[in-house]
Symmetry: C2
Subunit: 216 residues, 2 copies
């Protein structure tokens, strides 16, 4: 029922409001969607008329229950398709986002169900992001970044920030994959860069890189 553009707005509001469901501002949305603020205002009025968001001019916007459901369904499709592309078609994890941005708008509940089954009902996508179930419920897992881990501790790589394909290529090049064990051997007081043991090898990660790797 929502148009492609409406789906993208709902997804952006879901992303920006995070788990707190905080109100999202017009400019935040404009930045995220690479659109002008005026366009956002206009769309918010439409989404509000359709009861998918609560919108108070000048105050911000958040998703209605119906909007949350729609946004979660789109995100579910996005992440299932990313999983398909990596698992079945052997795409690199840095290549899948753009294609999934298109595939997420395909409207066929049966296709989504069958795809999920075909993939073995995965709970996490190739970047470690949770895939909501058909009812929009996310599998929950506490999220800590590698940069928060003190020296001497061992952790398991659980996810990476998607959205920057340079970073994703870099991580692959390092040889780090989801599920791998890392041990933080030292943290430089100077720049917070980390010496990390990965199997036999010792890697050096900048604080920025470490902040984009999620661990358990």
């Amino acid at each position: 029922m929502p148009s492609l553009s409406e789906e993208n707005y709902l997804k952006a509001i879901l992303f920006l409001s995070g788990q707190t469901q905080a109100a999202v501002s017009t400019n935040e949305l404009a930045a995220r969607l690479d659109a002008k603020a005026a366009s956002v205002t206009e769309m918010l009025r439409r989404l509000s008329e359709k009861k998918w968001v609560e919108y108070r001019p000048y105050k911000g916007v958040y998703l209605s229950p119906a909007g949350q459901d729609l946004a979660a369904k789109v995100l579910r499709k996005h992440r299932l398709w990313e999983t398909f592309l990596v698992e079945k078609l052997h795409f690199g994890w840095e290549e899948v986002h753009e294609v999934a941005e298109q595939l997420e708008h395909i409207s066929s509940p049966k296709l989504t169900d069958r795809l999920s089954a075909f993939l073995g009902h995965p709970e996490y996508d190739p970047h470690g992001d949770p895939i909501p179930d058909p009812n929009g419920v996310f599998p929950k897992r506490p999220k800590r970044t590698l940069s928060e881990v003190p020296a001497g501790q061992k952790v398991l790589v659980q996810g990476v920030r998607d959205g920057d394909s340079d970073f994703l290529r870099y991580v692959r090049q390092l040889g780090i994959a989801l599920g791998d064990e890392l041990e933080v051997e030292a943290v430089q007081p100077f720049d917070q860069s980390q010496q990390v043991r990965h199997g036999e090898r010792l890697l050096t990660l900048s604080a920025i890189a470490a902040a984009n790797i999620y661990v358990l």
Copy 2:
């Protein structure tokens, strides 16, 4: 580069002009696309400006080489996705067309290539329709309908007319699948209905049904 709507027009022109590449009329297109003639005229002007068709007002339209290439690519995706849905996700062959109408517009040459490889580079879709190769070349196979087969002859089922899901469901219900052997035992002079042997069983097919089954 072409919009979703433009792709649908190009595909319709390809379909209606057939292998003869005959000029297609405005009304034919309007009927096929379920649009009004005025809308078609407008779009043909745009497609013509973009050099994807040759359009002579009041005379008809046909595809330029560039337009043929684009239309074949869309058709290739449509048929690859139909094959995916049937072979991998176990859809019925009567269920796949609508979903493929959406999927055919996904723009990612890499995805199309990988999908084709994943499916083993099929040459025919679930309805027996030829899948053009990446250069827009169709595998050719002479097409005869079952209704043209005289009594006493044995044939192999090669395809079925897609586009009517009632018919597709009916054929499945009969137990006839692509590749099956049929022997026409008798043709009623009265209504051209056929007595057809399919393995052990003897089926009766109306002339209309027989005209929608392609054989070799």
